[in-house]
Amino acid sequence: MQGMVSVKNLVKTFVSREETVTALNSVTLSTPPNRILTLLGPSGCGKTTLLRCIAGLESPDSGEISIGDQVVWSKAKGISLPPERRGIGMVFQSYAIWPHMTVFGNVAYPLEIRRTPKHEIEERVKKILDLVQLGGFENRLATKLSGGQQQRVALARALVAEPKVILFDEPLSNLDAKLRESTRQELRDFLTQLAISAIYVTHDQVEALTISDDIAVMRGGSIVERGTPQDIYLRSNNPFVVDFIGRANFLSATVKGYGGENHAIVSCALGDIVCSAPSGLGVGTEVTIYTRPESFEMVPASSPRMENEFEGTVTSLLFAGEAHEAEISVGGARVLAKLKSHIPLKKGDKVRLHIDREWCRALNPAEEA
């Protein structure tokens, strides 16, 4: 299928003088066509190695990689296509803009190699530069541009030859915070507009959540969870993923019963709580539940009692502008809660909090370890 990348049982180890590092531990993955898949994980998790193996810049030890219908690397079949024959585009972390060429020269390069006629090169380069809003910059030396502009030159160069798939290696990490946010939005717009298949590597959770159609979270050379941004943020069953993707309060709990198919009633430091849970947890099972700090809402003391409410004491407080970051002591546990900052709060206050049952989730004990 057009643009689909599939990776089977890919293994890659790096041998240095002191030790052997397993960068990829039998990774199997296939990307959805015309969608953006993000490989997310902390540094050293193997995400960049996986991307470079797909690009052909790194040779795996075993396994198979195909792009579209074509096997580009296979140990068993003895196939190893060099990067230039894999029909991909790539945006590098350093942008890798060639300093001795103009913007036009950089972007035209992939087409020149493909022996595209001159007039067509000019036409297509102009079109793509207009798309990335760099029309009129053709004759500038590429290194004289700002970081954000260089980044767009890199994107234009990766797109111009209409590759089957485009690879991004932390393309925004060299931009400053403000620019990163706006570029993120632009990039997402370009890619959805062009309906192009992309694999995107980042260690930034927010970037992954905002830009992707699909996320694969990696750890220690393996993919630990795969799903849509919503799945990953709200419905993960993996404690590593939960912890990595945002801040979380983990509490130990005991299953007391089921309230509907996907919701369990558990007993924990917050009292008896209804939370979303994987099905099939027996009564009495010890589980860990987690909540996000931003999931707590303050309830006025006068309102009637509802499900999933509890009372606690503010033990420490930070004013962070958009919210109070409050540590609440409840039933012997401490939870971090982000509370609306316009409500006056001080240390020692008693607060009544509510948490939605969808915002609170029991982890599958099978996946802990």
Binding site: T48, R52, A55, G56, L57, P82, P83, E84, R85, R86, G87, I88, G89, M90, F92, Q93, S94, Y95, A96, I97, W98, P99, H100, Y109, P110, I113, R114, T143, A154, R157, A158, A161, L167, E170, S173, N174
Partner: protein, 563 residues
């Protein structure tokens, strides 16, 4: 605040400007005046006769042509080899990379005079040992190699410049962002196309800079042209000047100055070109992100032949010349290694050399110049580097330009300038005259490493000492000096070794009484006393090594002055 600081240091800056200009511009001015003067005893008597004589010399066109072939040939040879070695050591999986770290210190080990002497002993056309050996083997009646040729000169000078070209190209290779190549591969270009369109164009300024530097060095070269070129009657500009002042019954320093000025002008232009190219090449350094591990180019089947090539080069550079020197030093005359040769080995050359009172004096003089000269030179360099880095004013910028200027001066020519300069002073024909000329000529080699050492010392360290009550000199002594000590010692070693192997300035200024080792070695070589050349050469290498070892022992206590 700034004005206050610079005004407090104004006397220091002014004093340094005077000293440094006297050392660098002084001889140039004297060279110009000298070229328009009747003679060394009649300075200031204006004449253009020297120019007429110098530029109507019928041997000049041939000399110019030789110089062009020699410098361009050397630059091509040494840049190509230096580039290849730098690429292999930085970017590929060539084995024994530690070997390449030896390369930059090779010229400190074997001075040019000795390198040339060893190779002459091996492949001179009459009794070169390698030639004799090959003749016996294949029954040639003569040859097969003749070092007394332009090719021989280019071969020797190219090998001698190889460590320098390697040193200049390597950083460019190191800082090369390999994702630039990866981006090209991913764009659809093959390895070879990438090399042609991306790698080489980006490295072009670095290669051109190296090439320019090699031209500057070979233009100033004297050891190889005098020892190899002159016997073969192949004269280049430096030996041409040397002949004007040393051959015949009356040395003509005016004519030498008139010719010398064009060499000097060419060198200065080339140095500015070099600086420009280096700046351009550093502009291409675009590494911004944290670098992924650089891809190591796998050489595959070419790995073994390329490694063998490197080993051969190292043998040519170090092993063969050193072995030849040691072997020759025990033999009465040149002969191919054999049982007979072994039976004839003796210490005679060593005894003869050490019994020669002139050589003993040269040994003392060279040691004096290295120890005292390097100490004074480094002391001056410390002040100059300090002012360049820490005092930002128009005066310090002037000092920077001045101290960099003599980097471009060919020793031979500036030696003639110093001749005109010193002859008006009581220093003329004394060891101190040589010392002043050495320091003036080699000042950049002291200032440059110290400048980078100073740049690494944060200004606040010194400022805090001032805040706590230390005077400027006290802060310098207590804070800056200990931190600087390792850099100072390295610079001292470099300068001392350069002074020991200095030839081209000495050959102009050395007089009976102020003989130095290199000049004496050259004289012994001119007389064909290869055994004595070798023995004295090994003594000279031993002297440099001893200085390096002693200086290194001083490095530790200098860094801990407070105990």
């Amino acid at each position: 605040m700034l004005n206050h600081r610079s005004s407090r240091r104004f006397p220091l800056v002014a004093f340094l400007i005077i000293i440094v200009s006297a050392l660098t511009i002084g001889p140039v001015v004297m060279l110009v005046i000298g070229s328009f003067s009747e003679g060394i005893g009649a300075i200031g008597k204006f004449t253009t006769g020297k120019y007429v004589a110098a530029y109507t010399d019928p041997s000049l066109p041939k000399t110019l042509l030789n110089t062009i072939v020699f410098t361009l040939g050397t630059a091509c040879f040494s840049t190509a080899l230096g580039g290849l070695l730098a690429y292999l050591s930085v970017r590929t999986d060539i084995p024994f990379k530690g070997l390449f770290r030896v390369l930059p210190i090779v010229p400190m080990m074997i001075p040019h005079v000795l390198f040339a002497a060893a190779w002459i002993a091996l492949i001179n056309p009459t009794n070169g040992m390698l030639n004799l050996f090959l003749r016996n083997l294949f029954g040639f009646s003569r040859g097969p190699f003749n070092i007394y040729s332009l090719a021989g000169m280019i071969f020797l000078e190219g090998m001698l410049d190889l460590p320098v070209t390697y040193l200049v190209i390597s950083p460019a290779m190191y800082s090369f962002d390999t994702t630039l190549e990866e981006a090209s591969r991913v764009s659809g270009a093959s390895n070879l196309y990438t090399l042609r369109r991306i790698t080489l164009p980006i490295l072009k300024p670095a290669f051109l800079a190296t090439f320019t530097l090699a031209i500057i060095r070979s233009l100033a070269a004297f050891a190889v042209p005098s020892m190899v070129g002159m016997p073969g009657r192949i004269h280049v500009l430096t030996t041409h000047v040397y002949r004007i002042i040393s051959v015949g019954w009356s040395p003509d320093y005016g004519r030498a100055a008139a010719i010398g000025l064009i060499v000097l002008a060419a060198s200065i232009i080339l140095v500015y070109l070099y600086r420009h190219l280096i700046a351009e090449s550093s502009q291409y350094v675009t590494v911004t992100g944290k670098g992924y591990r650089p891809i190591v180019v796998e050489l595959g089947r070419a790995r073994r032949p390329l490694f063998i090539l490197c080993v051969v080069l190292f043998c040519f550079l170090v092993v063969i010349p050193l072995a030849t020197l040691v072997y020759m030093s025990f033999l009465p005359y040149s002969m191919v290694p054999s049982a007979r040769a072994v039976s004839m080995m003796s210490l005679r050359n060593w005894r003869t050399v050490l019994a020669n009172s002139v050589i003993i004096r040269a040994l003392k003089n060279s040691t004096f110049l290295a120890v005292i000269g390097a100490t004074l030179g480094i002391l001056l360099s410390i002040f100059v580097a300090y002012v360049i880095v820490k005092v930002k004013s128009r005066g310090s910028a002037l000092i920077e330009s001045l101290s960099f200027l003599s980097f471009s001066f060919p020793g031979m020519i500036i030696g003639v300038g110093f001749m005109w300069f010193l002859v008006r002073t009581p220093l003329y024909a004394t060891i101190w005259g040589l010392l002043v000329a050495y320091v003036g000529t080699y000042l950049p080699y002291g200032v440059r490493p110290l400048r980078s050492a100073f740049m690494q010392i944060d200004e606040e360290l010194e400022e805090s000492a001032r805040v706590f009550g230390a005077s400027f000199l006290r802060a310098l002594k207590d804070i800056v000096v200990p931190l600087l000590a390792p850099g100072v010692v390295s610079a001292w070693i470099l300068m001392a070794c350069m002074f020991i192997r200095e030839l081209s300035v000495s050959v102009v200024l050395s007089r009976p009484g102020t003989e130095v080792l290199t000049v004496e070695i050259m004289k012994l070589a001119n007389d064909g006393l290869w055994g004595q050349v070798a023995a004295l050469g090994i003594i000279m290498i031993g002297l440099s090594t001893a200085l390096v070892l002693v200086a290194n022992m001083l490095r530790v206590p200098l860094s801990h002055v407070d105990q």
